[in-house]
Symmetry: C2
């Protein structure tokens, strides 16, 4: 949420779903899911986020294991080699995560205006 | 927010107030303000959070500069040497920060229940 008076201060809520110390879903993993949905390719998604292909695979593996089923379908051979798509579970997880982010920003608005008024303009 | 069915999954919203790349107020700084309010001593507050005294000073300096006025009053000499207290601005900033955290958790509850239902029980 940008300040009304300019881009000086920004409120950034970051939501994490944890299981013990493992981040099941957080800002980085949500961005990866979204980039996969948009590029339909794991390599392109990783590149867009400035992360290595190996790192993207590791994040995906963590999510798939935590959810007990794949969030992303990947094709490693044949004519669809390289294609990656969110599964229905992946789509749902990403949608709910973005809902939580938006809800969090909205819920903070009143206190954030008051906090911002304490900061130099 | 702990899962209703046990402590397996946890939703952890972390709120950050940024000015450019500087974290004006975030989880670590809020915890420091709270520890100072509770211990009335910067050294004790730092120890409680497992951070060095120097680190605590650095966090305080960042906050005081960002707010343009002190959030904590410290006494470095005389009979009150070592005593640290939140200023009215510090108290207000901490209170508003905790309000945002609670509001964020509440606002996420509905989507979080649905997301949690996608995770293995």
């Amino acid at each position: 949420m940008k300040s009304r008076s300019g881009p000086r201060y920004e409120l950034r809520p970051r939501i994490r779903v944890l299981r013990g110390e493992t981040i099941v879903l957080g800002p980085g993993k949500a961005d990866l899911l979204q980039a996969i949905a948009e590029t339909q390719e794991l390599r392109a998604a990783a590149r867009r986020l400035g992360m290595s292909y190996m790192r993207a695979w590791t994040l995906l593996r963590t999510m798939n294991r935590a959810f007990g089923r794949p969030l992303v379908e990947t094709h490693r051979g044949g004519p669809t080699h390289g294609v990656a798509r969110l599964t229905p579970t992946g789509q749902r997880a990403l949608r709910l995560y973005r809902q939580m982010e938006r809800a969090s920003v909205r819920a903070c608005a009143a206190a954030w205006r008051r906090l911002e008024s304490l900061l130099p303009g």
